[in-house]
């Protein structure tokens, strides 16, 4: 992992990625931490996942210290800044793990041979935005794919895909942050462990692009999630809407 680096944009996803990679013996050779300490603040809503596989309240700096990681700090939080590109080029990595923070521009992608991203959907038929909700709505499950990024949206070759059935341990309140981070980081660990041994699969089949989900549909998706949870209250919103 010496030439594998993480670009850490402050978020719960970045925290999950970094902690779970390190715990699983996949310590990056270097991390580039973006933004100020003020950007790297936890929300109270970030509760631990059921398996305690990461601690959402542990800051990126704390994790870096705990695992004695080699850090480069870039004050600008912009994932397409020239300072980040320069920092990446200076490290000369063979793989950069992307933790989110925006859409990467071609110039940023060109700063390293490969950028790895975990998309919460099956590819190519679940491209685009908020696919975690669409997965629940359409399949009652979430599939996440690790891929090498390309300039086109979610068009890159796929390293691995994993399916997660809707879990009673997920919640409507936590899906957008802690559960999403847990799902993606689970696939990231798989991908980092095996990416050198596999040839990324070019996407074939008919692509489908999804756009930001409307709040009403999101509500239905989360309602289906609650339906799988016997402890949760189930409200049939449809009955209300169609009455």
């Amino acid at each position: 992992m010496k030439r594998t680096i993480f670009v850490l944009h402050p978020s719960i996803r970045a925290r999950a990625y970094l902690q779970r990679a390190c715990i699983n013996g996949l310590k990056p050779g270097k991390v580039i931490r973006l933004g100020s300490d003020a950007d790297d603040v936890a929300s109270r809503a970030w509760t631990s996942p059921a398996d305690r596989s990461f601690d959402p309240q542990e800051s990126l700096r704390e994790t870096i210290r705990r695992f004695d990681l080699n850090e480069v700090h870039v004050e600008d939080p912009d994932v397409n800044s020239e300072s980040l590109c320069a920092a990446v080029r200076a490290v000369d990595p063979d793989l950069v793990v992307f933790t989110g923070g925006g859409v990467l521009q071609p110039a940023t992608l060109a700063s390293a041979p490969a950028w790895l991203h975990v998309h919460p959907g099956r590819l190519p038929d679940r491209r685009g935005s908020t696919c975690i909700h669409y997965g629940l709505l359409l399949d009652g499950a979430v599939e996440a794919s690790a891929m090498i990024m390309r300039a086109g949206l979610d068009e890159g070759p796929v390293i691995c895909t994993r399916r997660f059935e809707a879990s009673t341990q997920w919640s409507a309140e936590g899906l957008d942050h802690v559960d999403d981070a847990w799902i993606r980081s689970s696939v990231l660990v798989d991908a980092l462990a095996h990416w050198r041994d596999v040839v990324p699969r070019q996407q074939t089949g008919t692509p489908r692009t999804f756009f930001v989900i409307h709040p009403v549909l999101k509500h239905f998706a989360l309602g289906l999630l609650e339906e799988t949870n016997p402890r949760a209250r189930r409200v049939d919103h449809l009955e209300a809407i169609s009455s």
């Binding site: 038929d125 669409y134 709505l137 359409l138 399949d139 009652g140 409507a172 309140e173 957008d176 489908r208 692009t209 999804f210 756009f211 930001v212 989900i213 409307h214 709040p215 009403v216 549909l217 999101k218 509500h219 239905f220 989360l222 309602g223 409200v235 049939d236 919103h237 449809l238 209300a240 809407i241 169609s242």
Partner: protein, 235 residues
């Protein structure tokens, strides 16, 4: 309650959708009530699906007879809440819709035949989602330009076409993609009508009513279990 989403200023950027949190029961209840109220207002002023009548352009692709039939049946049920036969008179509406498209200078839907193809509707849905508003286009230099300042009729026609496509969607994923755009389009229309003072003539009011009823039915399909929808089921 819906002003957060329907306020005319915020709709200009559509950011409310980009950053929408989980709004829960209160939001969905407010959404339902707002739509129900709009339907009631349209019916009060005399809008009817019967008046709208012909949604089936006789020039629609002949090899899609099953989907056309399914839509026909659906509209009859929607209009009457029964299986009673409804007369379909295609002439006036197809003429009106076709001319209106030309008037709006929307080159990609000038072709009347193309109005009825899924591919064209999906293309417009993607434009709507990606650009935020249907009237926003890009000129040769990449700048955003407004091509149709009187956008309400354009959004209404696109909404209707999208609703039609969603009703007769070939599979669950396609249905959900179309419904997602349709909800946003109808939010936009509702904001224009409620807040912007955009008037709808009698025919447009009938088209809006038919679109709203289709939206409600598609919502019903999705919320009762989209994963169990069978391929090609349209009613």
């Amino acid at each position: 309650m819906l002003d957060t989403y329907l306020g005319p200023t915020r709709l200009e950027t559509r950011k409310p959708y980009s950053f929408s949190p989980y709004h829960g029961d209160a939001f969905v209840d407010a959404h339902r009530e707002a739509r129900a109220q709009w339907i009631a207002e349209l019916q009060e002023r005399g809008a009817t699906v019967e008046r709208f009548g012909a949604v089936l352009d006789p020039r629609a692709p002949r090899d899609d007879a099953d989907r056309r039939h399914a839509l026909d049946v659906w509209l009859q049920r929607t209009a009457t809440e029964s299986l009673a036969t409804q007369p379909l008179d295609a002439g006036a509406w197809s003429e009106r819709i076709g001319r209106a498209h030309l008037d709006a200078k929307l080159p990609l839907i000038e072709d009347r035949e193309a109005n009825w193809s899924f591919e064209t509707i999906e293309h417009w849905v993607q434009r709507f989602e990606a650009f935020g508003c249907v009237h926003t286009l890009y000129d040769g230099g990449g700048r955003r330009v407004v091509r149709d300042p009187n956008r309400t009729p354009v959004v209404l026609r696109l909404s209707f076409a999208t609703a039609w496509a969603a009703v007769s969607a070939r599979d669950a994923a396609q249905c959900v993609i179309l419904l997602n755009a349709l909800l946003k389009m109808m939010d936009l229309l509702q904001a224009q009508v409620l807040h912007g003072g955009a008037g709808l003539d009698d025919d447009e009011a009938s088209m809006a009513l038919a679109t709203l009823l289709m939206e409600r039915r598609v919502l019903d399909r999705v919320s009762t279990g989209v994963g169990r929808m069978s391929e090609g089921t349209a009613t």
